[in-house]
Amino acid sequence: MTVPLGELLGHVLEGEPALADEIDEVFRRAETLRRRRTRLLLIAGAAIAAVIVLAGYLLTTTLLPAPGTPRSLPAGRPPVPVPSTIADPVLAVIAPVVDAAHLRIVPRPPERGFGWRQYSVLAADGRPRGTVQVAVFARPDGLCFPRRDGSDGCARRDRTGGVDYVRYGAGTDPDWQVNEAIARRTSDGRTVALTATGERDATDPSDATPPLSGSQVEQLATDPRLLAAFGAGEGCDGPAADACPVFKVPVPERR
């Protein structure tokens, strides 16, 4: 090429059409680009947020137990059934009697097990006044109620409303004053033991007396609602007995 290429290329551009509104079009498209990029950014941000929320939900549902899941129980034991309207049906039976004595009753850790419950009793000023323990047993073949004096043989039992029962007094030990009642439903042998124990090592001797009187303990133990408040299969029998409260007057294993 003897003629510079640039000069040659210039001739090629003859007939170049005039510009119209291309400059305005440039800025219109730039604005469209900006809006499209903003939209994409918002969509990407929403997608990322959704992924984070979903990941958090999946992690939570995978790692945490669902509410209401019972703690693991020994093999073969069904979870303690709880009526949907009352969290602790046993407490619902006992509380009115405690309230009438101008005391308060609250669950005492460990609060419950398979076939038993326990509670703390407090005075109006919050002073501890002792404990209440309740346990159920299966005694379908009958029950030899322990004698009050601890001697061999079966105690003479009283009966009310299809329930045989014996009431046991507080005793003479000032550090372990207990009112207890053992009641057995004659129809199926389901048996309940309820104890009210005074506060041990209390500075005020009146706090060492049981928070429930003998008659109150008897009233509660023979209340059919108390046995019904426990789950149908619950019982402090067999391997479960090791975890049950220790009663001052134990419920015998067999008649």
Binding site: M1, P4, L5, G6, L8, L9, G10, H11, V12, L13, E14, G15, E16, P17, L19, E22, I23, E25, V26, F27, R28, R29, A30, T32, L33, R34, R37
Partner: protein
């Protein structure tokens, strides 16, 4: 160049005609050249407003050459005379035809070096090539163009 709209408007108004011509030399069609140039400059404006453009000239030519290269993946004989271009010289047609028989990279190097007047360094920046490659494409392009034009002149003389 500042990001304010006055500066951008001056830049667009000043560069648009030159960019469009370069685009025509690349693709051989004024309508297509106009479309590619407007789209390229719109991206330059949008990205300049975001503050991500260091050198708008390099950015604009790089974007344009890449857009033209994507449109011209085949060496098409696509010269289209403009509607008002009566009597476009025969030599120009032959030159444009020969230009479009070059590879897109060779074509881009020749347009940037000989039409737009950029040096090897700037051309390399726009095409993402090192200096050696730019010179190699330039030499190859010039040689091929000479051969094609010589062949065309011989054919036209017959």
């Amino acid at each position: 160049m500042s990001g304010d709209d006055n500066g951008l408007h001056d830049f667009v108004a000043g560069r648009l005609p030159h960019l469009r011509r370069s685009a025509f030399l690349m693709c051989g069609d004024w309508d297509l050249a106009t479309e590619l140039t407007v789209a390229c400059l719109a991206r330059v404006v949008a990205d300049t407003r975001r503050g991500v453009v260091a050198d708008p000239d390099v950015y604009a030519y790089a974007e344009l050459m890449e857009a033209c290269r994507r449109r011209n993946r085949r060496r098409e004989h696509v010269f289209v005379a403009s509607a008002g271009a009566e009597g476009v010289a025969a030599e120009s047609i032959l030159l444009l035809d020969a230009l479009h028989k070059l590879t897109p990279r060779c074509r881009a190097v020749l347009v940037l070096r000989y039409w737009d007047g950029f040096d090897v360094d700037a051309t390399g920046a726009m095409l993402d090539l090192d200096d050696d490659r730019v010179e190699a494409y330039e030499q190859a392009g010039l040689a091929a163009l000479e051969r094609l034009l010589a062949k065309a002149e011989v054919a036209a003389a017959r």
